[in-house]
Amino acid sequence: MKKDLEHKFVTELEDNQNIVHKVCSLYTNNRDAHNDLFQEITIQLWKAYPKFRGESKFSTWMYRVALNTAITLYRKSKKQVRTQDYSDFIYKIKSDDYDETQEQQLRLMYNALKQLGDIDKALVFLYLEDKDYGEISDTLGISEVNARVKMNRIKKKLRTIVNP
């Protein structure tokens, strides 16, 4: 019975691990810290898993636990180096719409993203993941109106970082 649960959990997490990796890449600056946070999120997901009754999709449920761990529960390890390393964000746009100015702009945007506070990052993350304001406000515990207001402020903030 327990083995079944373990198997089911690991399989679901394996299929949806992208969500956790994206959270980790947003909240950490190097590979070690990334793995550390990934592990902590996995532990928290696993601890909470018996309470997951399948009333929502596994992935939906993951967003909340992963963000809560990154924002609140996770304590940065002492080893964390201060240098900025964007290796996780190195993207290879080799498609037809490759555009140098666009790539430059994206690079600036990703850098700007890293400079945001923990809460702002969470908002942007959910926004980028195409979550609606209802779900964003639900996850963070703020009203929908305030989620919109905050998002507009972040957009402005990002714009000034990218175009000083």
Binding site: L13, H34, K47, A48, L73, Y74, M109, L113, I119, L128
Partner: protein, 216 residues
Amino acid sequence: MDELELLKKDWQKKEGTMPKLSYDEIYSMLWKKSSSIVKWIFIISIIEFVLPHLLYLLPSVREGVPFYEQLGVKNLMIGISIFNYIVVFYFIFQFYKRYREISVLENAKDLMRRIIRTRRTVKHYIIFALSLFLFTFLAIATAIYLSDGEHLITVLNLDDDATNLSPARLKALISFVFIIMGILFTALIGLIYFLIYGLLIRKLGRNYNELKQLEI
């Protein structure tokens, strides 16, 4: 085009560039120990609850009991101890109840609120413990001041040098020393405690305030 829309398009294409862990790698993580802030708060709080009581195991503290008796404050000290234990158990009960209510499935704001509330229980306990500590010192100082000077010399086992002072001055001096010691110890322990408290909860408090300010 909105910069953020551009980012969103790119972000959604990113799936392929993210690391990919195998089934076994994820499986092995299930049994690793959590190092979450909640766990740290739990461990540190337990230490804070237990530590002051371990002091009574020290021989020098136990030897104080006959001293209280001779000073005539034995009943007061027993009273303080009983009161102390009742309050400590109340705080531990509160702390445990609040600790159990912390759930990672809450929304971010409620989760932070519950963690801070749990930690605040310990803060209140520390304020109580420090006040009682200071009160005990002041009570002893008062008892010394009101006691019979000659008697005091035998109680404290003072050598002959000390008896050169007049009993009244001796009493005043010793109670003064007790008051200063009480204040210094209380301040020192308080300082250490609030440093730890501040460090543990700094990031959490900042994020919580940011969410709370939104609602004003």
